[in-house]
């Protein structure tokens, strides 16, 4: 069942400053949906429009199949977790959590207490009932904010970069906790982040935004494997996808002086952007692989993997090798890549170019 749907929504400030245009997407009931993109891409604005904190300039928003453009925030049956938690500093944990339901007259006192106990148990804060927010650590404050969202028992929960104020270790822990919470409660969760790792690891589906328009919507792994355009290709994945402009010579695409590849489609232009993921640049090759002879200029030892940097004409490329490799800067080495691991993008439209056969194989990939 569709829980939230946006149809051709745009947002304009002062009638001339367009920040979002033609946003179309829908979120299913119980789905973990992630809005991801660089800062200023409009992802928070979309979230705030769903919450009713921001007006919708054009288009329609449906919540549970009901037109919601003009509903008040409280009529939308949502809860929201803010980036800075928005806790009330003069109230204890208990008061903060109960504040979300304290004014509801149709709830008995016992019922409120029951919900409070359940919410605090879910976020493991039972012992901190009477503390004020300033006496809690960042992670605990975050949990109070979560508890306040849970206690309302709203079917939809909106989160605006809830983990960005936490340190890396805590963030990883909270990622799993939020994910588990969402599944246990069957929440429809819309989550905004600029962190592609959060997007990849947490979401059922993600929507990638850039400069106010949707780039791609789909399952994280599908997006990783089949990025719709160069923006998505370089935004998802770390280190980002290597890319280079390559001309067509004698029907082949010339990637470097002595590496050419046959195109899987019939070319319509004289050059294409070719991309390859760092982990697909291998230390050993198979038959049919391309060999690139390169001078290494940076070496990053991460313990479990080694990231090697080298220059491909005007582009800095990176190769990610498993294990520990002793390579000196300025050393000349060979890296191997299979033609099947290459992505081709149109130089002008920046869209991925796929052969008609491949398109047919992929079937229902959403682009």
């Amino acid at each position: 069942m569709t829980q939230i749907e946006m149809k051709a929504v745009s947002k304009t400030y002062n009638k001339k400053n367009t920040v979002l245009k033609g946003i179309d997407f829908s979120v299913e009931k119980g789905e973990f949906f992630i809005l991801v993109g660089p800062s200023g891409c409009g992802k928070s604005t979309i979230l705030r429009m769903i919450a009713g904190l921001e007006e919708i300039s054009e288009g329609q928003l449906f919540i549970a199949n009901r037109l919601a453009n003009d509903l008040l925030p409280k009529e939308r049956q949502i809860s929201m977790v803010f980036q800075n938690y928005a806790l009330y500093p003069h109230m204890t944990v208990k008061e903060n959590v109960l504040f979300g339901i304290g004014h509801l007259k149709n709830l008995s006192k016992a019922e409120k207490e029951k919900r409070l106990a359940k919410a605090l148990e879910l976020v493991q804060l039972q012992e901190y009932l009477h503390r004020k927010p300033r006496e809690l650590s960042g992670g605990q404050r975050q949990r109070v904010a979560l508890a306040r969202a849970i206690v309302s028992e709203a079917p939809i929960c909106l989160m605006d970069e809830p983990l960005s104020n936490l340190d890396a270790k805590l963030r990883a822990q909270m990622r799993t906790e939020i994910r588990q919470l969402q599944q246990r409660l069957g929440l429809t969760l819309i989550y905004v982040t600029h962190d592609q790792v959060e997007a990849m690891t947490m979401g059922d589906r993600i929507m990638i935004l850039n400069e106010g328009s949707v780039q791609q919507i789909g399952r994280p792994i599908d997006i990783y494997n089949h990025p719709a355009n160069t923006f998505v290709a370089s935004f998802i994945g770390s280190p980002q996808m290597n890319m280079i402009e390559a001309p067509i010579m004698d029907n082949d695409l010339k990637i470097s002086t002595n590496a050419s590849v046959q195109l899987p489609f019939s070319p319509e232009k004289s050059k294409y952007l070719v991309g390859v993921r760092p982990e697909k640049l291998k230390p050993q090759g198979e038959t049919g692989d391309l060999i690139l002879k390169v001078f290494i200029n940076t070496v990053e030892q991460l313990g479990n993997e080694t990231i090697l940097g080298f220059q491909m004409r005007d582009q800095q490329w990176k190769a990610k090798w498993n294990g520990q490799w002793t390579v000196q800067p300025d050393e000349r080495i060979s890296v191997y890549l299979s033609p099947k691991d290459l992505y081709y993008f149109d130089v002008d439209s920046r869209e991925q170019v796929v052969s008609s056969q491949e398109q047919w194989q992929r079937g229902g990939v959403t682009v």
Partner: protein, 272 residues
């Protein structure tokens, strides 16, 4: 190091001298209030015999207590009125968003440029036509709306994170609940500052109470004091000084209690 000690010493001596100079009328008053009448007339500066006779007399044979109660009623009423109206007005200038909000605020603020002296005559005429002369409303009502107070609180309210309001919008809180449960408790410091300030200003007010009260019914201490001095042919300076010292006590109390908050409130937002 030694030189530093020297300059410090000089600075402190200068400070003490300045403090004595500024405080001398008060100290002289205190000294006089503790002297018997004959010593005062003999032109002494320090009492040879301490007596609290002047204070006894101040409370027994003058209207001091009556004036004190009047002042207390008027000051408290103005304080409460200012806190209430200023915070409500400030709320309206910050939280509900409406067209022309800025314009309204600037119009409101611009009234600060009309000096109090220019308002006195129209205010007096209004009060007189309402038959309010010699009543508490005459001393209270003209001062319960405070532009300064509204401005101070508006600045404070604006510093509350916007997300708090948004969070309460999603919960579905009314403006009234948000004002009472969130805004007021979170602005305690500024409210205490404004409260102290308005209490002290009203307590020390002279010109308006002088005009608005023609008899002892609602007369406040400052006027009462002046009255005492001019009524009697032979001034009992000891008693007058005892009265003056007594009426300064509430001021000092409020100042001491509110000082910490006052400093915090007035410099808030300036740093940090």
């Amino acid at each position: 190091m030694k030189k530093r000690m020297g300059t410090k010493l000089i600075l402190y001596i200068l400070l003490i001298l300045a403090a004595l100079l500024v405080g001398s009328p008060l100290l002289l008053g205190l000294s006089l209030s503790l002297m018997p009448q004959n010593e005062i007339l003999a032109g002494q500066y320090l009492p040879k015999t301490f007596s609290l006779q002047n204070y006894l007399q101040a409370f027994q044979s003058t209207q001091l207590v009556h004036y004190l109660i009047n002042s207390l009623i008027v000051s408290l009423a103005v304080m409460i009125g200012q806190l209430l109206l200023s915070s409500l007005a400030a709320y309206a200038f910050v939280f509900p968003k409406f067209r022309g909000q800025q314009l309204c605020f600037y119009l409101f603020i611009s009234t600060m440029m009309i000096p109090f002296e220019a308002q006195i005559i129209p205010n007096f005429q209004t009060i007189r036509d309402l038959n309010w002369l010699n009543t508490y409303p005459a001393l209270v009502i003209p001062f319960v709306a405070s532009v300064f107070g509204t401005f101070l609180l508006r600045q404070n309210f604006k510093q509350l994170p916007n997300e708090l309001k948004e969070a309460s919008d999603i919960i579905g809180l009314s403006h009234w609940t948000y004002y009472l449960k969130i805004v007021l408790p979170m602005s305690k410091v500024s409210l205490v500052t404004l409260g102290t300030y308005s209490f002290l200003t009203t307590w020390n007010m002279y010109l308006w109470p002088l005009l608005a009260s023609t008899n002892d019914a609602v007369r406040t201490v400052q006027i009462g004091l002046k009255q005492m001095q001019s009524q009697e042919t032979l001034n009992q300076w000891g008693v007058i000084m005892a009265c003056a010292i007594t009426i300064a006590i509430p001021t000092l109390l409020v100042l001491f209690l509110g000082q910490k908050h006052l400093q915090k409130g007035l410099t808030e937002g300036a740093i940090k």
